[in-house]
Symmetry: C2
């Protein structure tokens, strides 16, 4: 078993949630010639019909049908829906099926998997593709989304080496770079570089939009505002789930952020131009260095 | 005088500060065929030489020479440098010269202009082109920078209608949309939609970069992080000056932001998923609406 060959191609892939993340995974595997048939599962008929029109999926099916037919299943819906999905899948899941997810938090998804899947948990390899999430719906899916992006896998001790390897190969086939971590490290890091910025951007957007003179302000907003607030346009449902799932880590990051904010505010209040300059310069150097290394900027 | 024709073309334009803002203004006017000769003034020889190599300016001159030769002078250097520039210009300024600036704050620049220019203050029409500032230096200048962007003018009672009109025409010639406001309204609005986001992005970048495990975190940062922190790469000198000049308005906005932040944090701490969802949804709708109207997103 450990020496099984890699997937030459997936016969049947099922995508649960046919939005940006799931739709792009299907489109990318199709483009790479790595999948024969794609099933789509979703709560609402509209996006499923659109995913079919766009050629992202071949057929819309129920969760039970997907569990009984698919070789690989990707759960790409908000993390709050994972427990119910695991419970719905497990009675129908074929023994050879590789189950994975694209949830933005990992500790809670892993916990839900152990609870619902029991001795079948070895079939579930948790994952998180780190790719843009401010766009939603099948129409935002694109085959190139994962090109050069990181995908974190947080394998379970119950996963076989071959399953880990197969999933790694799938993500690499769509251009992603796979990183292995434990769920807690993943959640702490993501609370810092993804969840907290989203929280701050949403709070800021809410504050500006609630002002009596919001129209005047927003009329003068430029590209800096555009970039800073872009993530705040993302799905409220998805992000509510992320914040609830990763609550403690986000609160911890927010606490640390407030310490730095207090210092910067004091410098400004005290007219300490040098201290302010030093902070801005450290931030600018760090951001430029990250930009030059990440390939994202 | 009030019926003078618009500038058919500027014979001599002087740019004080040959970076993104000044360099782009020169490049755009040149491309529009609205300027014959461009003089550049700067503190350091390197950028001036590069601006010349790039064809942004024809000659590097002293502030005094610019004052004595230019028909139009744009001050495009950090706002903290404006008082000294006004003092340096005034003894040599020709009576017909139109002086303007691109400073990101207006009340402090207007105050400095009254103090230094005295009865010549009518020659100074304050302005602020709202255009990206995370890139710096002559190499970032581009003729298309002002296409479709807002330029705020905060004219003084001493400005003649024809001067206001001429400056408006110049900005419109490079594709900008001119908005007239008073300096205080400008500074309040910009504190909200430009200065506070920059402050928060810099504080956040500083906090992440100072973590013991910053490399791990930054390695997992994606496009959301990239967009949220982009402004933090901007010039520390320029932004220190902006924060110091618009200190009170920024502190006021920060106070309002903290009220909304406290509420959101409480909702998260109390696991009030509905309240969190409502906040995220209001922010998402406001951001999407702004995006669809601003032409920037």
């Amino acid at each position: 078993m450990e020496n099984s060959p890699p997937f030459p191609s997936i016969d049947v892939l099922a995508i649960v949630g046919v939005g940006l993340i799931g739709g792009s995974f299907a489109a990318a595997l199709r483009k790479a010639g790595r999948v024969k048939r794609v099933l789509g599962v979703g709560r609402r008929p509209g996006p499923l019909a659109q995913a079919r029109r766009l050629g992202l999926i071949d057929e819309a099916v129920s969760l039970e049908e997907a569990a009984g037919q698919a070789d690989v299943i990707l759960l790409a819906s908000p993390v709050g829906s994972m427990p119910a999905l695991f419970r719905g899948l497990v009675p129908h899941l074929r023994e050879s099926t590789l189950l994975t997810d694209a949830g933005s938090t990992k500790a809670d998804v892993v916990k839900a998997a152990y609870e619902a899947l029991g001795e079948r948990v070895g079939q579930f390899v948790p994952g998180h593709p780190i790719a843009g999430a401010e766009k939603t719906g099948p129409e935002s899916a694109e085959a190139g989304l994962y090109e050069g992006r990181h995908v974190v896998l947080t394998p379970l001790p119950e996963n076989s080496a071959v399953m880990r390897q197969q999933l790694t190969q799938l993500w690499e086939a769509v251009g992603a770079r796979v990183v292995l971590m434990d769920p807690e490290s993943h959640d702490r890091a993501l609370a810092s570089v993804s969840h907290l910025p989203h929280f701050l951007a949403s709070v800021f957007m809410e504050q500006v939009a609630a002002c009596a003179d919001a129209d005047l302000r927003l009329g003068l907003a430029g590209t800096g505002f555009r970039d800073f607030t872009r993530v705040a346009a993302g799905s409220a449902e998805m992000w509510r789930d992320i914040f609830m799932a990763n609550r403690e880590a986000v609160l911890r990051e927010l606490k640390d952020f407030r310490v730095t904010l207090d210092e910067a505010e004091s410098a400004l209040r005290d007219e300490d131009a040098q201290k302010l300059y030093d902070m801005l310069e450290r931030a600018a150097l760090a951001r430029r260095f990250w930009g030059s290394r990440s390939g994202l900027s």
